[in-house]
Amino acid sequence: MLAPLLALALAAIDPCAPVEALSPDAAAAQAYRSVADAELAAGARDSAAAAYREALARDPADEASRSALARLCVARGEDPFQDGLRKLDAEDLAGAARAFEAAYAADGSAPAALLGGIARFELGDDAAAERLLRAAERAPAHREEARFYLGLLALRAGDGTRAASLLEGAAVNPSLASPALDLARLARRDGRLVLSFLAESGWDSNVNLGPGGPQGVAPESDGTASLSASALWRPQGARGPYLRAGGLWHELARLDAYDLGGIEAAAGWQLRGGNRGAAAEYEYAHRALGGEDYLGAHRLLASGWLRRGRAVATGSYAVRFESYAGNWSPFSGVLQRAEARVALDATPRLRLGVAYAGARDAADEPVLSFWEHGPRAEARVLLGRARLGIDLGLTFRAYDAFDVALGDRRRDTYLDGAAFLEVELADRWSARAGVVGRHALSSVGALSYDQLAPSVAIGYTLGL
């Protein structure tokens, strides 16, 4: 959207430079002046300046061209719109926003209001962005572009209904239709209160993580069914405080001892400004396994992200204070995990990401404490209303101490893979089919295993 304006700024012809005289040619000078007047009337100052210069070069007595050039020269030096374009090109967003605001204040220019609004949006100054975009919206030529960004502002503010309405309004413009309608569909699932439900069914090839073979426990497979629900309340939208709560139930058809239930609640705060953001969260989670108390955990999470062009860098750190119940209590302790991730929008429909994570689990029982680290790669492909995802990860884990019971100081390597296809069925309904798998290698043969778990799911998300 900015490309044409930037191209004009970069190719600017200097109306203030001295004009060198050529052989007099009154007819040509007249034609140049006529072209210049037409270009100026069309708002094309650079080509107008070029034509006036040619007219003056062939007819030094042409006072009309001389005066027009002088006006263009003065206007160029004082033109905050051109100044804004230059600053935008130099990636000085704050300077560009100020210049466009000055241009809008001077003559009510709708393009200046639009570009100023976009610059303010990028800077995270939502109130100023809304004021300018509302002004741009009044100009029919920029109405849809302004509504597109107003829709993004509403989405950021957590007002999904208003965002969807604005984005649908922007979709009237055919060149904005595709992204605007996609975002409108997402907006209907967004809001200050977001409720989500997911029902899933699948099969797990190795519920008990048995290694098989002559010396190991035989893997036991089983069918699975899960239900989960969550609620997210963000009174100020995507920025500011939020509360989150959720619950899940994961039931196995035969192996009831592995049925898992859980609830969790979290409170957090998100900061967003321009191309960066950060969040901090506290969460309490409780889990039951086989119908019995299993785990209670308090987690603190901090994360931040920074966007540069088509790339986003993300960093996160979490510490979880885990308290396992009953026979599981030796696993209790403190788990810390940090991850750095970079994602790149390789094309509008393909996002690629790589990450590296490290974790430290300091369990009460030293033989259960470990360090682990490893890389992860992911790809996401948009296929119309469907999204295909592929994840691959490699993790190296080393335990702290020699385990007398195992006769070894355990070292594991995990190769994880996942693939899924998500399809948008309707505004709030989506379906998902996927498979996750793990190939675990351990220095203790009895702890190596393979696991494959395909599943299908249907989800409903409501934004209010």
């Binding site: 012809i13 140049y32 072209v35 037409a38 080509s47």
Partner: protein
């Protein structure tokens, strides 16, 4: 597209040079071609416009190409609409780009389809790429809002006194309406109507 600029501009220069004579409009066409080749599209436009005013009918098409390069697509569409039909594939190519930039997708597709093998391998390849990009939009049944958008544009440009441009938008709206009608008929006959067996 940048890679094709020199090639296109060189072809333009050859075309102009072939008919160049001293004085009149031709020197301005040549100067315009030189500016175009050097990617000084503002200056090229000025020279082509001067040549037009000095009586060179071919100049309007070249001015249209310069307007495309300046991304002044609506003016380019207007210019091509009023230009004498040159029949040169480069003109048709730039005219298609003008239509594409002005969101006149049916117009762009029609012109690109008509280029065939006349344009040389490079432009033919670019034309194929643009047509492939347009195909999903042109194959989908147009929405009421899209149709209304083109009709509104037509009315707005007519009210501004830009009749040629208004006509281009109206033609696009008509093409969309025809596609919408065809899609509706196809959907309606999908098992709902009686079998057409000639009997």
């Amino acid at each position: 597209m940048t890679g094709g600029v020199a090639l296109q501009a060189a072809a333009l220069a050859v075309l102009v040079a072939a008919g160049a004579t001293e004085g009149g409009a031709e020197p301005h066409l040549l100067a315009g071609a030189a500016h175009f080749r050097a990617e000084r599209y503002d200056a090229a436009l000025v020279e082509f416009r001067v040549a037009e005013r000095l009586g060179e009918p071919e100049a309007a098409g070249y001015a249209g190409a310069a307007l495309v390069k300046l991304e002044r697509f609506e003016e380019a569409v207007e210019t091509f609409e009023t230009a004498s039909p040159g029949g040169h594939p480069l003109h048709d190519y730039y005219r298609a780009l003008a239509c594409y930039g002005a969101r006149l997708y049916s117009c762009a597709d029609r012109l690109l389809a008509g280029l065939g093998d006349r344009s040389g391998p490079r432009i033919a390849e670019q034309a194929r790429a643009i047509r492939a990009e347009l195909a999903p939009t042109l194959e989908a049944p147009p929405s009421e809002t899209s149709l209304a958008w083109y009709r509104d544009r037509c009315e707005a440009r007519r009210a501004e006194g830009r009749a040629a441009l208004a006509a281009a938008y109206c033609r696009e709206a008509d093409a969309l309406a025809a596609r919408r009608g065809a899609a509706t008929r196809a959907a309606g006959s999908d098992g709902a109507g009686p079998p057409r067996n000639g009997g």
